[in-house]
Every structure is written in structure tokens, then in C-alpha cells.
């Protein structure tokens, strides 16, 4: 009986199955055109450059978020982590200079590891666990620096050489973004752990029965998220020559939106780097376009919220969970 239903369903959906990426690309083109009609400056070289730069930064945290979503969870703590690293980085440059980079990167990965542990060992669902750790990280950020903290000009060179430089007229930020992109792509596509992330997100029971190390893979997925958030914190602080405990708050929404609108399902197991690239570009374009065209910035958040809901609705794999809580 179940077989009959499955056969008919299969025949029906086979024809309809369009990879979500094409939808995102189509959306990109359509919305891009709409913005252009609203304000021709939208497609100016300068503006496009701005969009790409923002995309690169958003991409870094979005790729990390994507890893947690692919494995079937979510990371609501990225905002807090970005804020925390942003101030910690600036504060660490003074005493230890360039070593602040690896320290902050490791700190981010460690935070991700803790998130993973709370999920795998204490077995708290990731959305609550990361809600909690996000709060803890935000308050740590404020604890460390209640007010924005600026980098003293003597230390500008630390950030200028790495982040604020440019090569061939292209800002280093883009190269960093590209490097991160390649890193995540390689991990997900060419390593066992990356592949296991997909297996677990796709069917966790089967993965367990096949002997895949679920704990280790999930921990790594969350560490990858921590890595992305830390990189964003570092980059943002470098660009602004200062850290600010509020800088991270928008990234929770934006990273989830980028991942989901890009076509990665919240249920996990489907999606990938390409999806998230388009998602990040789309979100940046949306953000930028709404400013350029003059849509009230306050409305923007509402629109983002709607996009997330729509994105989730379209990509959610309902055959996996007959009961939706």
C-alpha cells in the first residue's frame, strides 16, 4: 500500500523536480532587474563592487551556517560569536599582534565545538543550545568591551596588510572570501567528513546503522560554523578598524536567509556551496538594492523574515517528518 503511493508520487514529482539553484538564479535576475528599473545606479561598477564585497563577507558565515543546517541542525549563535570575536580580535592585536588572527580563528572553532558537544553529548536540540550559547557569547562580548573599541593607529598595519589591502584592484576581502569558499567546497565535496555531513542530514538513522561517526561529524559541522563566524568577526573589525559588540546581531537572520533562500533545505542533506553562494549574493543584492531604490530600511528586516519563511516552505522535505512540531 505504501509502495503504491510512493510509485505515484515518484512519477509526479520526477517531472517537477527543478533544482532549487535555478530558482535562486532566476530570482536574482528578476529582482536585480527590478532594482535596476528603480534606480539605474544599481548596476554601476561601484555598486556591484559593494554588493560583491558584502556577499563575500556574508558568504563566510553563511557557509558555516550551511554546514550546521546540512547536518540537520541550525546555529543561532553566529551573531554572538561574530560580536565576540570582533571585539576580542581588536583587543588582542595590541598585545600579540598578528597572532590575534590564529587565536581568534581557533577561538571560533572552539566555540563551535562546544555547540557540537552540547548537541551530541547533552543531547539538547541545536536550536535551543545555540540560542543559549549565542546569548552567552553576546554577553561575553559586552563583558569584554561594553562599548565599541577602536584599534589604535599604531596597529593599523596588522589589519591593513591582511584584510584591507588589494591585489589587482580587487580588495583582499574578496580573495579571503574566495579562499574560504574553496576551503568549504573542498571539505564538503572531497572529504569523508564532508560527505558524511550529507549522509547524516539525509538519513541519520541509516548513517548510524552504517557505522558513520555521528558525533564527530556533527562536532566538525559546528566547528565549521564557528570558523565562518570568527572569520567574519575578524574581517569586519579589520575593515572598520574597530570592534563593536553589536556588529554580529544581524548575521543570524542573514546567514540563515542566505542558506535557505539559496536552496538548502532545513531538513538537511540537500544543498551545497553553490546554493549558498547564490543565496549570499541574493541577500546582499536585496540589502543593497533596497537601500539604493529607497525602500525603508526598517521594512527590510520584515522582508527578510518573509523570505526565510518562503524559502523554508519551498525546500522543506516533508516526507522526512510526517509530524511537524
Amino acid at each position: 500500500m505504501a509502495e503504491a503511493k510512493q510509485e505515484t508520487k515518484r512519477r509526479m514529482t520526477r517531472k517537477l523536480r527543478i533544482p532549487p539553484v535555478y530558482v535562486t538564479v532566476a530570482l536574482l535576475v528578476v529582482v536585480g532587474l527590478a532594482f535596476y528599473l528603480g534606480n539605474p545606479n544599481f548596476l554601476s561598477f561601484y555598486n556591484l563592487n559593494t554588493i560583491i564585497s558584502f556577499s563575500a563577507i556574508l558568504l563566510m558565515v553563511a557557509l558555516g551556517q550551511m554546514c550546521t543546517i546540512l547536518v540537520g541542525g541550525i546555529d543561532l549563535s553566529v551573531g554572538g560569536l561574530v560580536s565576540f570575536i570582533s571585539v576580542a580580535f581588536i583587543l588582542l592585536i595590541k598585545p600579540i599582534g598578528y597572532i590575534a588572527y590564529p587565536v581568534c580563528i581557533l577561538a571560533g572553532m572552539f566555540a563551535g565545538y562546544i555547540n557540537g558537544l552540547i548537541l551530541t553529548r547533552i543531547k539538547i536540540p541545536s536550536f535551543i543550545a545555540t540560542l543559549g550559547t549565542g546569548g552567552i557569547l553576546t554577553s561575553l562580548a559586552y563583558l569584554v568591551s561594553p562599548r565599541p573599541v577602536n584599534l589604535s593607529p599604531d596597529n593599523y598595519h596588522v589589519v591593513d596588510t591582511v584584510v584591507n589591502g588589494s591585489l589587482l584592484k580587487v580588495s583582499n576581502v574578496l580573495y579571503i572570501g574566495l579562499a574560504v569558499l574553496i576551503l568549504y567546497f573542498v571539505i564538503l565535496r572531497f572529504t569523508s567528513t564532508g560527505r558524511n555531513i550529507f549522509y547524516i542530514g539525509s538519513n541519520i538513522k541509516m548513517s548510524w546503522m552504517s557505522g558513520i561517526n555521528i558525533m564527530k561529524t556533527r562536532n566538525i559541522a559546528f566547528m565549521l560554523s564557528g570558523l565562518g563566524a570568527a572569520l567574519v568577526g575578524i574581517t569586519m573589525s579589520s575593515i572598520r578598524y574597530g570592534g563593536d559588540p553589536v556588529v554580529g546581531t544581524a548575521y543570524v537572520l542573514n546567514s540563515i536567509a542566505a542558506v535557505v533562500v539559496g536552496g538548502t533545505a532545513l531538513t538537511g542533506g540537500t544543498g551545497g556551496v553553490i546554493n549558498t553562494i547564490f543565496g549570499s549574493v541574493f541577500m546582499s543584492m536585496l540589502d543593497n538594492g533596497m537601500n539604493v531604490v529607497g525602500i525603508d530600511q526598517y521594512l527590510q528586516q520584515a522582508i527578510l523574515g518573509v523570505m526565510v519563511i518562503i524559502g523554508v516552505t519551498l525546500t522543506f522535505d516533508r516526507t522526512k517528518t510526517p509530524i511537524v512540531k
Binding site: E3, S202, N203, M209, G211
Partner: protein, 511 residues
């Protein structure tokens, strides 16, 4: 016991019920009449059609053909609520009480209108009514206890009480109660109590009793109905029946066609692959021992409650056994760890390939390569070329029909999905394969291919532990049969190609 020679009025009559699923006829013109004040026993092998028939009786599924008559008038049961309104209810094996609600709350769930005044429920009257209902069934428990905290036997009583109360509510004076394998989970003393209650209940209800324990059916029921392969075989008064006769009727005549490629059977080597020593798990199966040799196909046979599924789960590492151990190629395996079992070389083809066997939204290649990613690397990274090669190899070996290795598994037919699961394990060079109902939900053509595949694997030296959908399949495929009953390994029977036992020989041991 009532004398069924009196022409008693039929309360519920199912006439010529037919139900088909893709590839299989579950019920073929089955007749069943349930009379007033009688306790009918319904028996049959796994897959004989009992549960399908019951689901039709309570409105969970619709028959393709045939009629249902209640007190002589035809009715249609669109859903279980319809059935309840007509006084037909079922107590499922797993139970359908909400665990965190109390006994009282479960008894009256969704029907509290009688106890409601101005929107507020009167807890006192509900509790009193609950106590009264339970006392009628000789059950004296605290009605405020959450159902999760009472014993299984008590839960069954609560469910029966609920059904009785609901039929009274709907004005049905002789309700039909269906009990699905209620005694499987009960201790001996609880069984006696159950039958006492049922005999008393007969005065005001008709009861259909499904069980695989023929002896107790014969002792307690008025009439016994036997189903086989979706058809009525016989029905007779219990007093006129003998255990042996019933057993034989359950399995019918033996098969003649060599569906299982017996000539492909091979004399197995003497080398032992799997050794199970003193393996036991409380409440599932008692300590047992057996071995599986290279190239040998060993079948675990038993009905519901025999414990065979639990044995396989313990060997595969999905559950931890309480006593004893599993040895593969002489090395002991830690219990409760699927990854240890997999690493040692044990493969497990689960009964539900969709939820346990495959990543449906991933491609055939990705599924086939799952266990061997480490072998498909070049310079430390996964090599797309090697992955493709491995996938193509196994698609050819197992004859998986798929448009390409990149096709999502969700788009394959059941048989091909099953073959994909098998290739996944074969790719990892398993030593022992546990096959849990390998041809369930697979069409006839693919079944044949899977049998051939199993034979081939045996020739290559892979040991197999198998549990099949029918006795015929078990006997046909296996070299050796391990018979389990009520948690004990009762007998080991050889099943060589020249001398196969018949299902009749076996059935007496498992019921």
C-alpha cells in the same frame, strides 16, 4: 464455551473481501462472520492477511471488493471513528493510549461531553466513572496514574474498557472487539486473567482474538478461523479442532517450483565466520548459541514474539545484549556499536530500506560508495573518478536498473532500491550479511534477481543470516534453519537442497 451449533445471529459479516496492493493480493474473497456472544480466534502465518483484514474491519483501509454488513445492513467504514460509532474497535499490539495522560483522561479522550458542565469538566465524576468501568474488568488501579506508569496488561484492560464504554455511548449493544496478539506481551498469570475477563465479556460483546499461539486459541475460543495467503482456509468450532490439523492448514501444500534456485546452492566450507555464544537479552530472548559458516545461509524462523529480530539487532550492534557475545572470525565484538560491527565486516540490510537503508535524496553512486569512501581517495581526497568506477561496477554486478549513477535513489523502484542497499554492503567486502526480509515490498521479477544474488554471494563465501517473509522463502533459501519460539532457540534443522523440510514440519515448532 458456547455451542456454536445454534444458529446465532451474525453481528458483523464480511463477505468476499478483496484487497490488492501493487504486486500482491493481500486478501482474496475472504468471508468472515462474527456472531453474537462469541470469541473467535483468527490465526494465520505472518503475511496471511490477518492484519489487512482487521484494518478493513475498523475502517483504516478500504477493501477493493466485497461487502461489510452490520446486523444485516450493509455499511461502509470510512475511518476508525466510523467503526467506533458502529461498535467496532481494536486494541492494537503497540497500544494506542497517550502515555502522559492519566487512565481517566485516556478513557474518555474526545468524548468528555457527558462530564462537562458549562465547559468545565467534573473530575470527580470522571474518576468515579473510570473506576466503575475498570472494576467491571476486575482492574483496580489508581485512575490518576499516567498511562506510562501502569503495566502492559493494565493498559490492555484500559483500552478494552475504553472501547466498551464508547460502544455504550454510541448505543451499540453488542460491540465487536478485536484484540491483536494481546498475549504476546503478557506473563502467564496475566494471560489467565485476560481470558477470564474475555469469557465474561462474551455475554455482552463479540471478540475477535488474533494470536499465533494456537494452543491457547483452541482452549479459549469458540470458533477458529484460519487464513492463508489471503484466503479463507477453514473455520471450525474449536471443540472439533486439533492442533496438528490447524497447523497444517496454516501452511498449506508445499511448493514445487524451484523459485529459490536450489541448484545454485553450494556445499559450504567448514570455516566459521560468525559465532554467537550465550547471547541473551532480557525480555527479548534467552541465551542462545549458533554459528554461521562461510558461504552458508542460515535462516532464523519464528513468529511474532519469538525474539529473532532482536537477535539480529544485537548481532548488528544496533542493540546491546545482556549476556554473552558475538564473535566474527574469532574476534569478539563490542555490543551496541553499529560501527564496530560494520568495521568487523557485518552488514545489515534493514527491513525498511526507505527509512533505514538509503539516503533517498542522494544519488545511487553516493549510496553505494558510502562505506568505502576511504578506499576511493586519491592523495587524501575523494576521487570522483574512483567513485564513478566503483559505482558503475556495483550497478553492473547487482544489475541495478537506473538511468544513471547520479539518479536519486528516491526515483528507483523498490527492487532496485533494495539492490542498491545490498551493493553498498557488498562494496565494503562484508563477511556476514544480515538480511531482514530482503524481498519485502519487491515485485516478483526483482525478487528472483535478489534470490540469484543471494546464491551468488554464498558461492563467494559470504555468510548470511536471513529472515524472510514466508516459511517457503526461508526454507527455500537457507541451508540451515534456526527455529525460535517465545525467546528460545528451540531447534536447528538442516535444509540441504536434497532434503528440504516442508513448512508443515516447521509450523508445529513455532506456534
Amino acid at each position: 464455551m458456547n455451542d456454536t451449533s445454534n444458529a446465532q445471529e451474525a453481528v458483523l459479516e464480511l463477505g468476499q473481501i478483496t484487497k490488492e496492493f501493487p504486486g500482491v493480493v493481500a486478501l482474496d474473497r475472504v468471508d468472515l462472520a462474527i456472531r453474537r456472544n462469541e470469541l473467535v480466534g483468527l490465526v494465520g502465518e505472518n503475511g496471511a492477511g490477518k492484519s489487512v483484514l482487521m484494518k478493513i474491519m475498523i475502517g483504516l483501509i478500504q477493501p477493493d471488493g466485497g461487502t461489510i454488513k452490520l446486523h444485516g445492513a450493509p455499511i461502509t467504514l470510512k475511518n476508525p471513528s466510523d467503526a467506533i460509532r458502529n461498535g467496532i474497535g481494536m486494541v492494537f499490539q503497540e497500544g494506542s493510549l497517550v502515555p502522559n495522560l492519566s487512565v481517566t483522561e485516556n478513557l474518555f479522550l474526545c468524548h468528555e461531553a457527558d462530564f462537562r458542565k458549562l465547559g468545565i469538566l467534573s473530575l470527580r465524576s470522571m474518576r468515579a466513572a473510570a473506576r466503575e468501568l475498570l472494576t467491571q474488568l476486575k482492574l483496580h488501579i489508581d485512575v490518576d496514574l499516567p498511562v506510562a506508569e501502569i503495566t502492559t496488561a493494565e493498559r490492555q484492560m484500559v483500552e478494552i474498557a475504553r472501547l466498551l464504554w464508547l460502544s455504550k455511548l454510541y448505543g451499540q449493544e453488542n460491540p465487536v472487539l478485536i484484540l491483536d496478539e494481546p498475549t504476546t506481551v503478557l506473563a502467564d498469570s496475566e494471560r489467565e486473567t485476560l481470558f477470564e475477563i474475555l469469557h465474561e465479556l462474551k455475554d455482552r460483546a463479540s471478540i475477535v482474538f488474533i494470536s499465533h499461539r494456537i494452543q491457547e486459541v483452541l482452549e479459549n475460543c469458540d470458533r477458529i478461523v484460519v487464513l492463508k495467503d489471503g484466503k479463507n482456509v477453514t473455520e471450525m468450532a474449536a471443540s472439533e479442532s486439533r492442533l496438528l490439523k490447524i497447523e497444517q492448514l496454516m501452511v498449506g501444500h508445499s511448493f514445487s517450483v524451484d523459485r529459490f534456485h536450489r541448484d545454485g546452492e553450494w556445499r559450504q566450507a567448514e570455516k566459521e565466520i560468525l559465532r554467537v555464544e550465550n547471547l541473551g537479552k532480557a525480555e527479548h530472548f534467552q541465551p542462545l548459541d549458533f554459528t554461521v559458516r562461510e558461504g552458508e545461509i542460515v535462516s532464523l524462523i519464528g513468529l511474532v514474539g519469538s525474539g529473532k529480530e532482536a537477535v539480529c539487532r544485537c548481532i548488528a550492534g544496533l542493540e546491546k545484549a545482556d549476556t554473552g557475545g558475538t564473535f566474527l572470525d574469532g574476534r569478539k565484538l563490542p555490543g551496541g556499536s553499529p560501527s564496530a560491527a560494520v568495521r568487523a565486516g557485518i552488514g545489515h540490510i534493514p527491513i525498511d530500506r526507505r527509512s533505514e537503508g538509503l539516503a533517498l535524496m542522494m544519488s545511487v553512486a553516493e549510496n553505494v560508495n558510502l562505506l568505502v569512501l576511504n578506499r576511493l581517495k586519491a592523495a587524501g581526497f575523494l576521487s570522483p573518478a574512483r567513485e564513478k568506477k566503483n559505482a558503475h561496477h556495483w550497478v553492473a554486478e547487482c544489475q541495478i536498473k537506473t538511468p544513471s549513477i547520479g539518479t536519486l535513489c528516491a526515483n528507483l523502484s523498490g527492487g532496485n532500491q533494495q539492490k542498491t542497499v545490498i551493493s553498498k554492503w557488498l562494496s565494503s567486502r562484508v563477511r556476514l550479511l544480515i538480511l531482514d526480509h530482503p524481498t519485502r515490498g519487491v515485485d516478483v521479477g526483482a525478487k528472483d534477481e535478489i534470490y540469484k544474488l543471494i546464491r551468488k554471494l554464498a558461492r563467494e563465501g559470504i555468510g548470511m543470516l536471513i529472515m524472510c517473509d514466508t516459511l517457503e522463502e526461508d526454507i527455500g533459501l537457507a541451508n540451515r534453519l534456526l527455529v525460535m519460539k517465545d525467546g528460545r532457540l528451540v531447534k536447528e534443522i538442516a535444509s540441504s537442497p536434497e532434503q528440504k523440510p516442508t513448512p508443515q514440519d516447521i509450523i508445529g515448532l513455532i506456534v
